[in-house]
């Protein structure tokens, strides 16, 4: 692999109870998956503010993955139900503003789904790799605004 | 090349001292030794201290201009920048712009009795004057220092209070608000305005420097008036939100007076003539 080859940066926001455990399972099961994902653990998908995604892009992410417990399995009963509504709305807004759909992926991964996690990460990385670096967002980084 | 007025000096944190819960003093030295040698200021002036990545914040210089080679600032943690300042450790880098503003009339105070009153964190600018007077002790007549705070643990510069107490030529009076005393408290118990009346310094040939929360200043001024002080004899310093310190950003003004340029030091008489919007 060429030294300066671009490597996609994917930020994964996952819930503590299902997806994080699922990712853990993937690890203990020695499943191999793409290394370009950085996992940030939160108590629940309900805790993941849409601003986290904006911040991730601002700080250089090329793609974002959000994952938590399957509907009905939330550790806090209904956090993911609320999150689901929020993501439905937010993903549409991002799409409307022109952020490619493949740069933000939402999923449900349970603690038992280590294999699903591995596949999911590989898929997301592959898609983002195809899109290339998120230069459009980087171009917003101007600090002198004349007019 | 012309000077860029927004560029800070880079400073190294030399020492951190916890004064009271939430209040810390930083001792800062110039990274550029030449700049440090050329730097001078007067008691009462302020500067903008910055934590890179968090922003700038305005405080007075709490050390005395007689102590060369470093400056100190004392602050209470309230917002983003002060929180970041508080998390700094010895060796870390801080930005500093200054000194800005006017100063206490140390020249005019020579040969006079000086009464220095500090309430809470408001003791910081007064401390600069105190050490300035004490380092040039012979220039001044009686030095009275009145220090007050809400409670014993909120008193700042505790170590220095002990030093001043032990000095034969300083009259230190310390007080805490009723209810703020501890069993072993050896100072007075009472609000500063009351204590000032008790101590009853003479207005003859005297100058007062006072700093603290607005409400404390207001009532202490009344006490001083009762004792016969004229508003021209009393100096205080205003603290307004500032961004530039250079008379440009437009938020520290009280009426047509820019605190950053025309102040921060004002006489009580000047304060009376300003719109009451500070």
């Amino acid at each position: 692999m060429a030294e300066n080859e671009w490597k996609p940066k994917i930020i994964a926001f996952v819930c503590n109870w299902c997806t994080y455990a699922g990712a853990d399972l993937a690890g203990t099961s020695r499943l191999k998956y793409d290394v370009n994902v950085r996992v940030i653990k939160l108590p629940c998908t309900g805790r993941i503010d849409p601003l986290f995604i904006i911040k991730a892009f601002e700080q250089g992410a090329d793609g974002v993955l959000v994952s938590g417990c399957h509907p009905g399995d939330c550790h806090y009963t209904s956090g993911n139900y609320h999150a689901r509504r929020r993501w439905i709305v937010f993903s549409e807004l991002l799409r409307f503003f022109g952020i490619p759909e493949d740069r933000v992926q939402f999923a449900w991964v349970s603690a038992a789904e280590g294999a699903k996690w591995a596949t999911l990460v590989n898929e997301v990385v592959a898609k983002v790799r195809q899109l290339g670096p998120f230069t459009a967002y980087r171009e917003l980084e101007t600090t002198e605004v004349l007019s | 090349m012309s000077a860029d007025i927004y560029q800070p000096y880079l400073m190294r944190v030399e020492e951190t001292t916890d004064e009271a819960p939430g209040i810390r003093t930083l001792k800062l030295v110039f990274q550029d030794t030449v700049a440090g040698q050329n730097f001078s200021f007067r008691a009462g002036q302020f500067g903008l201290y910055s934590v890179f990545g968090e922003g700038e914040c305005t405080f007075c210089i709490a050390s005395s201009p007689t102590r060369k080679g470093y400056i100190e600032c004392s602050f209470q943690q309230v917002g983003r920048v002060t929180r970041a300042l508080r998390s700094l450790e010895v060796g870390d880098t801080v930005g500093f712009r200054g000194p800005y503003g006017n100063w206490f009339p140390l020249d005019e105070m020579k040969g006079k009795n000086v009464i220095l009153i500090g309430m809470g964190i408001g003791l910081a600018p007064v401390r600069s004057v105190i050490w300035n007077c004490l380092d040039l002790r012979d220039d001044f007549r009686d030095v009275t220092v009145i220090v007050g705070s809400r409670s014993v643990d909120l008193l700042v510069y505790k170590r220095e209070l002990r030093q001043w107490e032990e000095m034969p030529d300083v009259n230190l009076v310390k007080t805490v608000d009723p209810g703020g005393e501890t069993p072993d408290w050896d100072g007075k118990v009472g609000f500063v305005p009351t204590v000032v009346e008790e101590v009853a310094p003479s207005p003859d040939n005297a100058i007062v420097v006072i700093c603290g929360p607005p409400i404390g200043i207001k009532f202490t001024l009344l006490s001083l008036e009762k004792l016969g002080f004229s508003p021209d004899q009393v100096y205080t310093t205003l603290e307004n939100k500032m961004k530039c310190g250079l008379g440009k950003c437009g938020r520290c003004n009280v009426g047509n007076t820019y605190v950053c340029k025309d102040g921060p030091v004002f006489t009580a008489a000047q304060l009376k003539s300003l719109p009451q919007e500070f």
């Binding site: 007019s147 | 800070p8 990545g53 922003g55 309230v78 880098t93 939100k241 530039c244 437009g250 009426g255």
Partner: protein
Amino acid sequence: MAEFKLNEAKLDELVNALKSEGYRVVAPVEEEGVFVFKEVVDPGEMRLDVLRTARSIKEWFFPRVEPTLRYKFDRGSVTCKGEMPQSPPKTVIIGCRPCDSASLPILDKLFDWDFRDEYWFKRREATTVVAVACDAPDSYCFCTSVGGSPDGTAGSDLLMRKTVGGCYLFESFTKKGWSIIETAKGTLEPAGQNEKVLVGEVPKRFDLNSVKPWLDNNFDHDYWKEISYKCLSCGACAFVCPTCHCFDIQDEADLQGGVRLKGWDSCCLPIFTRHGSGYNPRDTRDARYRQRVMHKFTYYVDKFGLTACVGCGRCCVSCPIDMNICTVVAGAAELAETST
């Protein structure tokens, strides 16, 4: 006395001549239904007929955001680099109105007060201001009430005045203005002796001399509450104003480093003066609006001898609730008269 004139049809040639001489040409350009001063790419997009752009020319000297400092973090140590523009591009602003030009000498005073803000002056030096006299002012204009006029020359290097014959008379006042004429000479023709110019009229709405004393003595007057109780406390008025200059300084950084930015701010926004402790000396809408008026009509006069309002009417147009600073000040002038 104008020696040269330019036929309206040759405006494109003027722009091209300036561009080929290395000037960055800035003029009113339409952008999604609003007119703003932008760099002219295609000469045809320059719109000298526009009376009032959405924002003033101040942003070409005092941008709405600009970096003052960039820094890098390296294991506890910080390295800094100042960002003051050393040699901004040679620029000509064409088609601002005399009121906009007049704002420049007003702001010069502030930015040169003791501490000289070279961010402003470097750009000032690099920029030539070519104003166009107003042939058709509207009801929001009140330049004559604040010492200006539809063909005023303050702050302009060159003034273009429209003639009945479809030409612009060129009159330069400075060396920079003369350079423009030199550069554009090929497109210009000699002006006649008796060219008839079109200059509109702006009625005078109040007398500045009576306003200031009243403002000085009526900080606590009920008038302030009466006029500003409905102010929404947004910053629209300040941001479109050619003389409003208040700014904020903010850091933006990540783990590698960051930037310190100077950017527009407004005294009408509630957090403008709020202390870290939560205490706010200007906590009410009327206190904030009063500050805006007082700053322009008395504090600035006390400090710098000039009124910090040029009567462009932008704040009146932009105000969501139709607060009109001209009416407000005229009201103060009226109170001044009735009280004497």
